[in-house]
């Protein structure tokens, strides 16, 4: 990787009058293997390689990129970033500043015990065929007219340089297994299940996922839902959310609203703003059982990184602590505006995207209840184990999760399956209803979308099962 091109861009920008410059040479190599109803789809390979440079000139910010890896083209891109930033100064309300941060020189990576590049395409398809074989109707007792199985590997290498002396080099392999199952029961209907396992590791992780076993288990459950599922009750009840639902809740209604760029309005025209305002640090939003953390440094995690794309060292940040809003996700621009330090939340999806505030791995801190204990404490309720449909408004206040695998709880025991229960609830309504938190953590892979142009960020969402009191389903 030609780090000299990044250094060239930074030096050139400084020579052109930029008060700050950073550049990133980034390579993303992706392979995708797909099995559709037992038949291979095309192997697709994507190689992205280029240089992105970001500058601050007279208080205005400019970004430019090129995938022509030549000094002259990198100089030209740098000149474009400086020139357009300078031209935009006339519509700048106040100069953009960056928080002061420590400079670093470091190399970091995520390790592969078995290098996925040394595993053949045949072996990768063999993994998918193993799952496919487990889904035959004799085994799962339901018809699966559509089965989409995908193995994806993404290898990202970056060389980062900024004008304050930071020099970083990193390599992260990200492996994913995704499946999409459609089950059908004649005269009853159709249900679908999506699952995403993902880690920053080598090929060795695929056997730990036990995908054939899990997929067959999911398929059997789809059959049971179709045959035995009943309508969700409308009266007041308690709800136990499974780890998969807790994870998406933490991501959507804690991580996103506590991104400082949304709070300050920078994403207003696209993903929106936030119900959280700068003066809400210290405000109670949930019960004392709710502590939510975003930690990109979790080993093997899908959202793993040790330094962000502004060269700031990353670490865990507690966004809600015992029910109280305790921190925002910050980059250097928002930190300067709010009088804080960056907490290393700035990420870019590829060489041609400016870094923006993103989550890494967002989860609820475990408590001390087993799942059985959470359920035992419910007289009349619902266990909403996982979900299909979900969304949340663009201030991250009004959210909806439609359960897939769900069961009634009567007198402390899980009973019959329930079809499509709908939890439609506000953010404080949800967090203020939590009265107990499980102790067993689980994480799911996810791809978070934000920014314009769109940037897809690999993240983990996770947590234990949690219990909500006094809920009405939709």
């Amino acid at each position: 990787m030609n780090v000299d091109l990044a250094k060239l861009a930074v030096d050139h920008a400084r020579g052109l009058g930029a008060e700050y410059a950073e550049a990133r040479v980034q390579s993303d190599l992706g392979h995708t293997y797909t099995l559709k109803n037992g038949t291979p789809e095309p192997v697709t390979i994507e190689t992205k390689l280029g240089v992105g440079v970001r500058v601050i000139v007279d208080g205005a910010m400019g970004f430019a990129s090129t995938n022509i890896i030549e000094g002259e083209r990198v100089r030209s891109a740098t000149e474009t970033a400086v020139r357009t930033a300078r031209a935009s100064k006339r519509l700048l309300a106040s100069p953009i500043r960056l928080s002061e941060e420590e400079s670093w020189e470091d190399e970091w990576d995520a390790k592969m015990k078995v290098d996925v590049r040394n595993v053949s395409a045949e072996e990768k398809f063999r993994l998918l065929f193993t799952i496919e074989k487990s889904l035959v109707s004799e085994n799962v007792h339901v018809s699966l007219p559509s089965r989409i199985l995908v193995f994806d590997e993404q290898l990202t290498e970056k060389a980062y340089v900024n004008s304050e002396g930071t020099r970083l080099h990193s390599f992260v392999p990200r492996l994913s297994l995704v499946y999409y199952l459609t089950a059908e029961e004649p005269g009853v209907g159709v249900v679908q299940r999506f699952r995403h396992e993902a880690q920053s590791r080598g090929w060795e992780v695929t056997s730990e996922w036990k995908p054939a076993e899990i997929a067959a288990g999911d398929a059997k459950i789809l059959g049971r839902l179709l045959r035995e599922g009943r309508a969700a009750p409308k009266d007041e009840l308690d709800v136990v959310l499974g780890p998969e639902v807790t994870g998406i809740v933490c991501h959507e209604s804690c991580g996103h609203p506590q991104e400082a760029d949304r709070i300050l309005g920078r994403e207003a025209a696209q993903a929106g703003e936030s119900y959280v305002k700068p003066d809400m640090l210290g405000r109670r939003i949930g019960t004392e059982h709710v502590t939510i953390i975003d930690d990109p440094t979790l080993p093997n995690s899908y959202g793993f990184y040790l330094y962000d794309d502004e060269g700031v060292k990353a670490g865990p940040r507690t966004l809600i602590e015992e029910g109280i809003i305790s921190d925002f996700l910050q980059n250097r621009e928002t930190a300067a505006e709010l009088g804080k330090k960056s907490n290393g939340a700035s990420r870019s999806s590829s060489y041609d995207r400016e870094p923006i505030i993103r989550m890494g791995n967002t989860y609820m801190k475990p408590g001390d209840h087993s799942l059985e204990e959470l359920v035992e404490g419910v007289r009349h309720g619902l266990y909403l184990k996982n979900f299909m449909e979900w969304n949340i408004d663009d201030r991250r206040y009004n959210q909806r999760y439609v359960g897939l695998e769900a069961y009634m709880i009567e007198n402390g025991e899980i009973t019959f399956p329930v079809r499509n229960p709908i939890l439609e609830i506000t953010t404080p309504g949800l967090y203020s209803s939590v009265d107990a938190v499980g102790k067993n953590m689980e994480f799911s892979g996810a791809t978070c979308g934000k920014g314009e142009p769109m940037q897809s960020a690999p993240v983990w969402t996770g947590g234990p099962a949690i219990r909500l009191r006094k809920i009405h389903l939709g």
């Binding site: 891109a77 519509l91 207003a268 400016e354 408004d393 909806r400």
Partner: protein
């Protein structure tokens, strides 16, 4: 980098590697963007890329590759590796050929404006015009984005197809706020500066935001709804996705098994038209080198065709439609609409509101997710001005609502369309869509319960 050299290199190497059919592509793209929020520019962006694409077909096997590799040696190596990987892949389900050329490609007028290729400060001027127009209507804070795109595309196949085209686009999305609960959105989209109107986009955003001040909390129920062009374009985007024969093949289409059947009310006629002059998505050929055409997807409510690539057409024994697009994700080459065009109706927007009598007027939406792609059950957040209609008049804004319904049911419930149409393309709508307002019946609306 000479595009013809790149294409030739790909085809020659593939032939040496004994590949049966190859579609080589090359895209040169220059994009510029100015983002703004709180009435202030937040960043300027500029991107330049040259990207070769490779699609290989041999017997029942396929493989696809996008490679940002600049030298001849690297390109040749990539083709060889892709061919090797393809041979290691178990066979697929269909034997097919790429379209047999040569073809005579007819150009589409009005897709190129030289001025867009060099514009830089003009984008900043557009931001100023849009923001001022929104503020003049009463907006306090204005955010958005102005983007230009210049694209050249070259395609050459081993089956004799060879062609190229180029197009330009300028677009603005502007979102105005009077306060946190009162926002409005405007969109300007054109292939040239002459038809690009940031002032009107700003005015629209500001006017809706001003009307949206002091919303009342809405109530769940079934409503007569007047859909504005932005939300209708978002729903039609999902119709376009489901009309892809590849979505049908994957089992992720709500049009599964619905060919030649009624999927919408007879008020609805929807086409995909890559031949429309001055349209942002117009193009002369697809990525397999097949000439584009107008495809009527839904005529008077009946689903007439799916969109195809060579693979899906062979599998479903259907004619080609000119919609193949190279995709580095699942599928490699998949059918995608170019411009979605909804036939206008005969009513004014006011007449639709009058006909709704007791209902809602919804301008925009965001964050649509399916509960079930096969059945079309979904929900989406409605935003940027949602208004209660009582006795045929817009009486007050409402908030806290979600549209929760079924796609086919909505299409079947459309009763009337306006004469006025708008081009829509923004963060939530990928395919350029020309759409009127529409009146639909019995639309499901839900709210939070706690």
């Amino acid at each position: 980098m000479d595009p013809n050299d790149v294409l030739q290199q790909i085809l020659l190497t593939a032939k040496k590697s004994n590949v049966q059919s190859t579609a080589a592509g090359f895209r040169r793209t220059q994009k510029r963007m100015v983002r703004f929020s709180n009435n202030s520019i937040t960043v300027t962006n500029s991107w330049f890329s040259e990207i070769p694409t490779i699609y290989l077909v041999s017997d029942k096997r396929r493989a696809a590759c996008v490679i940002e590799q600049q030298d001849r040696e690297g390109l040749g190596k990539a083709v060889e590796e892709l061919a090797t990987t393809m041979r290691l892949t178990p066979p697929g389900d269909v034997i097919f050929n790429l379209p047999r050329g040569p073809f005579n490609y007819q150009p589409v007028a009005g897709t190129w404006d030289e001025k867009i290729t060099t514009a830089e400060t003009e984008l900043i001027d557009a931001v100023e015009v849009g923001v001022n127009a929104a503020k003049k209507e009463g907006a306090v804070r204005v955010s958005g984005v102005v983007t230009t795109q210049t694209r050249e595309r070259y395609v050459k196949t081993s089956d004799g197809a060879e062609g190229s085209d180029r197009n330009t686009e300028i677009a603005m999305t502007i979102r105005a706020f009077v306060d946190d609960d009162a926002s409005g959105q405007g969109i300007a989209l054109a292939t040239n500066f002459r038809q690009f109107n940031p002032e009107e986009a700003g005015r629209t955003a500001g006017r809706i935001a001003k009307l949206a001040v002091n919303p009342q909390t809405g109530e769940a129920g079934k409503y007569q709804v007047v859909f504005g062009p932005s939300i209708l374009a978002s729903l039609l985007g999902r119709v376009g996705d489901s009309a892809s024969a590849y979505s049908v093949d994957l089992g992720l289409s709500f049009f599964q098994g619905a060919l030649k059947q009624r999927v919408a009310s007879d008020a609805l006629t929807l086409a995909d038209n890559a031949r429309l002059e001055h349209a942002p998505g117009s193009t002369t050929l697809d990525d397999e080198g097949y000439p584009t055409q107008e495809n009527c997807l839904i005529r008077d409510g009946i689903l007439e065709t799916y969109l195809h690539t060579s693979y899906t057409a062979a599998k479903q024994k259907a004619p080609l439609t000119g919609n193949a697009r190279f995709d580095a994700g699942i599928g490699g080459m998949t059918p995608v609409p170019h411009n979605l065009i909804l036939k206008p109706g005969q009513d004014s927007c006011d007449a639709l509101i009058d006909r709704a009598h007791d209902g809602l007027y919804i301008t925009n939406n965001w964050y649509l997710r399916f509960q079930n792609y096969r059945t079309g059950d979904f929900s989406t957040i409605i935003r940027d001005g949602v208004f209660r209609i009582i006795n045929g008049k817009v009486v007050h804004p409402v908030k806290g609502l979600r549209l929760s319904d079924n796609m086919i049911r909505i299409l079947r419930s459309i009763k009337a369309m306006s004469t006025e149409r708008n081009w829509i393309k923004w963060w939530e709508v990928n395919t350029p869509t020309l759409t009127p307002y529409a009146l639909a019946d019995g639309i499901g609306i839900t709210t939070a319960n706690k």
